[in-house]
Symmetry: C2
Subunit: 195 residues, 2 copies
């Protein structure tokens, strides 16, 4: 297919999102200017506005895409028949999925406050849907009698916080492989919920 000189819409769009994600995660949304993002991409600031109506929409797009991908990826994970296999699947999935997405995970926690009220509500609902996935597994485990926990909602929050925490210290090529980390965390979660 012929392409006009200087026309790169299929490349520039994704590159803007990638550089914005990197810069927002490193310096914070408010600390990063549109000029900086443009410079990292290799265009002038004005060109960014062909791809996003404004700066906040760019952030929202990053967070929304991250949450959509998270929920879609989880929906495709095979989770066996019982609550226990489902719980193990969730624990391993959460670590495996989020570890290579440290920037987006960090943004989804830290930069929610820079969204408009309605955009915030969208992300918040998706986050809650994900938490409910785990809570449902825990309640099923209680009903099956294979789990013993004082409070499924708190257990869900505790487990997700614990698993997401891996992102803060894990370094590729460090002491432990991602596989080993998964197994160690699964061991702690399994015991914590009385399995």
């Amino acid at each position: 297919m012929a392409r006009k000189t200087g026309s790169h819409s299929e490349i520039t769009g994704p590159r803007i999102r990638a550089e914005a994600s990197r810069l927002f995660a490193r310096h914070g949304f408010a600390a990063v200017s549109m000029r900086q993002i443009a410079a990292a991409v290799g265009v002038q600031a004005g060109a960014l506005y062909l791809y996003t109506p404004d700066k906040e929409a760019l952030l929202f797009d990053l967070l929304k895409t991250h949450m959509d991908e998270l929920l879609a990826a989880w929906a495709e994970v095979p989770r066996g028949t019982g609550a226990l296999t489902a719980l193990e699947a969730f624990v391993r999935f959460h670590i495996r999925h989020n570890l290579p997405r440290a920037e987006a995970v960090f943004l989804s926690y830290m930069e929610l406050r820079n969204l408009s009220e309605s955009n915030f509500a969208v992300i918040e609902a998706l986050r809650r849907a994900y938490e409910t996935e785990l809570e449902t597994i825990l309640r099923a485990g209680q009903a099956e009698g294979v789990l013993a926990l004082p409070d499924p909602k708190l257990a869900a929050m505790a487990i997700i916080a614990m698993l997401t925490g891996v992102n803060t210290w894990y370094r590729e090529g460090g002491r432990l492989s991602r596989e080993t980390v998964e197994t160690i965390y699964w061991d702690m979660v399994r015991k914590a919920v009385g399995a």
Copy 2:
């Protein structure tokens, strides 16, 4: 003691820190201007520079004070004789201490990236010292044979992440009292480390 009219150094200093903490936590360090802080305190922007050499020093002061208070408060907690009572003391202390300090806890996580390299190193060292406190308890528990865990370092990171996560969802006057939350989390931690 006589005091000149318009002289409020003993009041203005703390108020600047309080308002800065509140605004930084709500909107992010970079998103808050010195003028906004000054307006919240009820002075003009120029007056802030009597109390801090620059904006970053104000942030550093907040984080340093928070970490110093955390370590000092933990040093005074009675922790019984064995590793198990020490672990329970740590779990309850962490929740009890951090819950009324949500702003400072959030800042200490999120705004580290806005510190200079040397100021960052100071906070990082204090954070690591706190983590080591827990790790030491876990290793002692292993040695005593009262705990069974695959990796004390990972367990320490997992426990702290889990406990700090309480701050993200706990609301005063909600479904559960702080006391109940402490007990539920202690139950999960105790099981997770094989006690």
